[in-house]
Symmetry: C2
Subunit: 411 residues, 2 copies
């Protein structure tokens, strides 16, 4: 397909310094694309621990099966990522492709195949030409370096319109550690769908169980709180690697108070990466932030917020810069969660427009209309039923989405 215009919400890739214990490189393997990097290898220091979260789609790709299976060991020495072919719905041959690729990476690094994590994104139903991967891995291994993050942020993209990364420093005890990650988002390759991949690394020393507990907790309010179009990819993968190179104190419990800063920083980086994915949503021109308060539980608030964020009528209203609170009321009502029309309030851009079951006839339309023309539209709903609260992020629905998904050239 022809190159898509860069998202109007694009963010420049920040400087991504080396992460102690991580070496990486990307190469042109010619798997499906030509003239661009499409295969990435990361090598992690011995004793690197790992945590992961994967798509809940019941028809996952072969790489997801592999990662789920090897994750229980809790250790990782390598990560192999290809763009162009998703290796989904490829049967037994698809599994073998993963296995051969992982074995080749393990041989280069000098570890067990079960210490290699694998992720693929791209076309569905096409076999991965793993021979090309196996063949090129020795060369790719030779190129490993600690300063290839920018190239790698590019190499994992499919039809994303900009590279996505984030880096920050935090402390565990008195020791400074780095947390740095890259992501790819809602690109689309015929005949495939949006896929989210994100890889986050840190030099902190943390057991896999602690890492997994932190990741599972923080993903709820970050990557699991975004939606582009309600469709769930067969390949979504979020992996967190901790190399243990930093001289951080030994911690065995995710609720250890010395982890507070680290946990907050992890949440921040996951949120920033998730927002970058939304800002590159197909056809996006506006970010939507939806907060639901007063629900019977946090989970209920999350479901209602997602119903609003996934409503095509809400999303098209925002494209039209129309403060259509009636559609928000409709979306609250269709979520299937406890809601009482007569206690429901809606605010847009910080202005309450509907209150306890009726429109506020005297709200300041000038402020609300001005807010609707901004890049980020903020919607808040208060159900006045309980203490459940949640915030999620979505993007608007435009003709660009139809263009990208309805009229690309057939492969």
């Amino acid at each position: 397909m022809s190159k898509l215009p860069t998202s109007p919400l694009a963010v420049a890739l920040p400087s991504l310094p080396p992460v102690p214990g991580v070496r990486l490189a990307s190469i042109e393997a010619g798997l499906r694309y030509s003239g661009r990097l499409d295969l990435t290898l990361m090598e992690f220091a011995p004793s690197t621990t790992v945590a992961g979260v994967f798509t809940k789609n019941k028809c996952p790709g072969a790489p997801i099966d592999w990662c789920r299976s090897v994750l229980s060991n809790g250790t990782a020495r390598g990560l192999l990522v290809n763009a162009g072919i998703a290796n989904v719905f490829t049967g037994k041959a698809g599994f073998e492709a993963v296995q051969h690729s992982a074995e080749a990476a393990a041989k280069a690094i000098g570890c067990h195949a079960e210490e290699i994590f694998v992720a693929s994104t791209g076309v569905i139903g096409e076999q991965l030409p793993y021979q090309k991967i196996v063949h090129i891995i020795p060369k790719l291994y030779q190129q490993l370096d600690d300063n290839q993050w920018t190239e790698t942020a590019q190499a994992i993209l499919t039809t994303d319109t900009f590279a996505k990364g984030y880096s920050l420093k935090t402390k565990i005890g008195t020791e400074t550690v780095i947390i740095q990650g890259i992501a790819k988002g809602s690109g689309m390759i015929a005949p495939d769908m949006a896929t989210m991949l994100s890889f986050v690394t840190t030099d902190a020393k943390l057991p896999a169980s602690v890492l997994q507990a932190l990741l599972s907790e923080k993903v709820k309010t970050t990557f699991n709180a975004i939606t582009v179009d309600s469709d769930t990819s067969t390949s979504d993968t979020l992996l967190l690697f901790a190399t243990g190179i930093a001289n951080t104190p030994e911690i065995t419990d995710a609720s250890d108070p010395r982890l507070t800063d680290f946990a907050n920083s992890l949440e921040k980086i996951l949120k920033e990466l998730a927002l970058l994915v939304i800002k590159d949503g197909e056809g996006v021109s506006k970010l939507i932030e939806i907060t639901v308060d007063g629900a019977v539980s946090h989970e209920s608030a999350h479901k209602i917020a997602m119903a609003i964020g996934n409503s095509p009528l809400v999303k098209t209203a925002i494209t039209g810069e129309d403060a259509n609170w009636g559609r928000v009321v409709m979306a609250v009502g269709k979520a299937g969660e406890p809601a009482n029309r007569d206690t429901l309030s809606v605010s847009i851009g910080g202005v309450w427009v509907a209150h306890e079951g009726g429109v506020l006839s005297d709200y300041d339309r000038t402020i609300v209309d001005r807010h609707m023309s901004e890049e980020t539209v903020k919607i808040k709903v208060d159900l006045h039923l309980g203490n459940g609260t949640a915030t999620i992020w979505s993007c608007n629905l435009t003709k660009g989405y139809i263009d990208i998904n309805g009229s690309y050239l057939r492969s």
Copy 2:
């Protein structure tokens, strides 16, 4: 908003003859529109029974509250419908508007207000000027006639692009009866959303309990098996009235075998009306028929079919006339219902394109591509897990949907 172009899938309104026991008329009440019929009154013979199904949205309009409340009586003498203002999110004043309107209709007909059913469609959050309704009802009553179906099929529309009705004859025992209905679909009025209203009448003599049992059963495979955009209106209403003028045998049980023909005919008319709604879906250019077989239950099959029918990626692929079975696999997987990737088969236009977890490399692309260019696209999924089966109907997602819902003039 300016007049929308007629749907390319529009169907001409058939001849709608009188239904014994039903008189009706429509009038210009000037509630919101001008220069068109916008208020309808139907009068039913004494002893008319009624059944109803309403939106499951938790923020329903005042007319829904009213109908739910009076439905338990099981009898109806009148139906009052207005287009232009939905009377949703209007608080106590909204309820009083319904009450005053029903009382005025009851006074004209000579019955209790609780025997009047009320439905509204149109803008949310705006008060219904019920004084205009109360004032004009005596005049409207004078115009009642048994042959005003065509005008009434028009009067209930909002931004529908064509009038929708269907009529058929069937038998109960040896007695011929008529079943005839009208519907309005996914029109949209700023700031409102698609609303479905349908009113079906018959001269059969059936107790309300039997009528309700039949309607609740047959709605599952008809009106509850269609989706335009996954959004659920606050006003959806389906009412079935039986005037009892026909000399049909006394029947007290919905499973009475003498009702087989009638039940089948009821299902047929509900299905035809539901399909007319889809054929006027916002921006529609193709109808999608989705059948799921081999699910663990019928309910599970229905949920999976709806996940496919609501997937923006499936809907845009069909706009692009792309036989994108990979997106169908994704939608099956995201439905949250039991599914096994490795036993999953997908057919498009009657041709199996993917089988037991892999693409069929030798399927006849010529036939499939030709099918994709047709007006109705048929997708079938076989999960090979059980005997659950369901068929639903959806429409494609086009730039027209964005135009209608994202760029109309503010009211």
